[in-house]
Amino acid sequence: MAVFQAALVNEIEKLYKKKKALVAVLLALAVIVIGQLAIVGVRSGFGLRGAGSVEFPMLVLSVVVNTILPLFTALVAIDSFSGEFSQNSMRITLTRPVSRFKIFTAKITAIALFILAMLFLLLFFSMLAGFIFNTNSATWVSVFQTVFSYIVSLLPMLVLALGVVLLANTFKNGISVFFVAILLFIGLKVLGVLFSQYSSLFMTTQLDWYNLFLINSFPLGKIIRQFLIMLGSCIMLFTAGFYLFDKKEF
């Protein structure tokens, strides 16, 4: 366990020291600023309320969950695998007394923590912006719902990250991984529209699953089904990704 911890700390340190994480953070903040400006514009220009203090974080979530969050998750995942494969820096870790399983798990955990950190950052700043600039419409329930929505968004992001990791272990080149990932993302989005009755199976539709938690009647059955599908996908993708990673020669 100590070894895993070391590997995890290492991965986090690498993520933190790289500029990419910083860019992601800045972009996330930019989204909030732009969003807030847009709301103010809509309010003064069209006389619409746009979004209240609680709706603003939800608006931000609905936008980032389909755009910059998958994008940066993919970039970080690709960097963590393809990046280190191509620079041979994977060997630095691999020749240490730590099993590949632990390295793989540590990398995935680091990516998950990155996603979680991004979500919390977005939550915090969008809430702050929401309370400062927008009409107060908060109730305790709605604040709780918002926080919860952000937290549960981690799971579909993780599925996505594991998918990208699998791709990164399949293709040699990080750029091709990136493009394949983007094409798949768009493809799944389109399929989700065309075959909406099966849309709950596509990981791109699952990105919006936080909406299920907002429903007054709380559709428990549906939530459990979605959760199990994502859990199953996670296990599948994790195993497949690890299988390839374990077989890889450096």
């Binding site: 070391a6 340190e13 690498k14 020291k17 240490r96």
Partner: protein, 246 residues
């Protein structure tokens, strides 16, 4: 003497027919083993398998009695290595690079990091990033990383690559020092025969993926004027044999 590394029936063939075939080798405690062979003979392949970067097709390597393929963590616990080229994270300083590795060993602290940087003459560049390092500097950093954990076994693939004369002497001294003071076992591959002659106590020759002969340096020097003569004759003998056979 205690067997530290045991290589048994190790085979790994690449698509182009190169690789290693059925290698058997034992390394004992205190050995400074020189692994000699022409380019493409399979030195690096063998060493990558020993350090778990590649899986063998068959056969196994055990270090301190632990199989590399099955009990990797235990096998590598007391091993330091430098394979092919010295790698480092270009966005982390020399110190941070070592700090990353130090986390895997509970008894390695910041003092020890400074110590190995001092040993390899890199202390001046402690807070610089390897982005701006020369090949030799990277190599020194790689060596520092290899000996960081006070390993009992050090596996070095071309450790003198890119080093200046001063560096070569320093590293040679370091190896001898560690072997004498801490009973560290070394497994070194090199194409610098002169250097191997000076440093290593036992020498194995690999040719065309096969182990030819393992002999202690004093024994070799009894029969041959220099190690180079021995090496050439070994390779030639084998080359003739293989060409006759084919």
């Amino acid at each position: 003497m205690e067997k530290i590394i045991e290589i048994k029936n190790l085979t790994k063939l690449y698509g182009n027919g190169r690789g290693i075939k059925d290698i058997n080798l034992d390394i004992f405690q205190g050995d400074i083993f020189g692994f000699l062979g022409p380019n493409g003979a399979g030195k690096t392949t063998a060493m990558k398998i020993m350090t778990g970067l590649i899986r063998p097709e068959c056969g196994d390597v055990t270090i301190f009695g632990h199989s590399v393929t099955e009990e990797y963590e235990l096998a590598m616990e007391k091993v330091g290595c430098l394979i092919e080229t010295a790698e480092s994270y270009s966005y982390l300083s020399a110190f941070d690079n070592l700090k990353q590795l130090a986390r895997y060993y509970p008894d390695v602290d910041h003092k020890r990091i400074d110590e190995v940087l001092e040993l390899t003459g890199m202390i001046k560049y402690k807070h610089e990033k390897p982005k701006k390092f020369s090949l030799g500097m990277k190599q020194r950093l790689g060596l520092a990383a290899a000996v960081l954990s006070r390993p009992k076994v050090v596996i070095l693939d071309e450790p003198l690559n890119g080093l200046d004369v001063e560096g070569m002497i320093a590293i040679r001294k370091l190896i001898q020092h560690l072997a004498e003071q801490e009973q560290t076992t070394f497994f070194i591959s090199s194409h610098l025969i002169h250097d191997v002659e000076l440093t290593c106590t036992r020498i194995g020759v690999i040719y065309d993926g096969k182990m030819l002969n393992v002999e202690s340096t004093p024994n070799i020097l009894k029969n041959y004027a220099t190690l180079e003569n021995y090496f050439v004759s070994e390779v030639e003998r084998n080359g003739r044999v293989s060409s006759c056979a084919s």
